[in-house]
Subunit: 157 residues, 2 copies
């Protein structure tokens, strides 16, 4: 039996579901490439979204980046995101909800001893015409906050 | 088709699978209680474990804590863990692998603006007689590093 959705999730309920689509990676230090993505937002009755995404090479199906964590609305217009990255970083990002648009910036990034140095992340998510698109900017390996990802996803089911 | 296991996962391969069991929560500031847990360790061919666990009230089935993230072996005897907690914390824990025993301590804990103050975590995992047991100690809300969780799990499948 699906648990009842917590009322605190109202401002982010438009994210719930499974999304699939394609994105592009770009950064000053690498060659651009495209990826396919599946991303999941669910809940268990508590006041947060359970989030995970995975991406893969469109040609070979080989896994690329993935990430997992939780999205916590903090009132009707703010959201807190806590994530783990298999590249050895943790991310706390916080920011605003404006209708079906979310804009967050990292407030804390942790890293394991062998992880690359990521100093800031910035994410914008937007639902428009039934499509969920996002952009991610990253400051890492000496580069300032610079566009890094852009993807557009559609509901898979 | 299941991907081939990365050779870097050899030291932690004994964790792979789905585990179920029961644990106990205790802390100076709360009454003890027990929980049921399911925990998953999988991989996608890359050199990390994909980890998630969820716990629930044994009586009502209501969800309690959960966490999700990645375990990264760093050579044969060290492991790095990156986790997100729905309570608003991120955790980087690092430490040693000794046979089927893992002992890690937090090196970085992040927190959202509305999260409780957790300052340190310490985890020991051990496989013995086909049972996976773990203990977790936590420094939080002004208490020093103090025992907080103890659980024993068995392979679910």
């Amino acid at each position: 039996m699906a648990p009842q959705r917590h009322t605190a999730l109202e401002p982010v309920a438009w994210l719930l579901g499974t999304w699939r689509g394609r994105g592009k990676v770009f950064y000053p230090t690498i060659d651009d490439f495209t990826y396919e993505e599946e991303c999941f937002f669910s809940h268990n009755g508590k006041p947060f979204l359970i989030y995970s995404q995975r991406t893969w090479d469109p040609g070979t199906g080989a896994p690329r980046h993935s990430e997992t964590g939780y999205w916590r609305p903090a009132g009707p217009a703010r959201v807190e995101i806590v994530l783990a990255h298999p590249t050895g970083q943790t991310e706390v990002s916080e920011g605003t909800i404006d209708g079906t648009s979310i804009d967050v910036h990292s407030t804390s990034i942790g890293a394991t001893a062998t992880a690359k140095d990521v100093t800031a992340l910035s994410r914008v998510y937007e639902l428009s015409n039934e499509r969920l698109s996002y952009t991610l900017a990253m400051a890492a390996v000496g580069e300032p906050l610079t566009g890094h990802l852009r993807a557009t996803l559609e509901r898979a089911r």
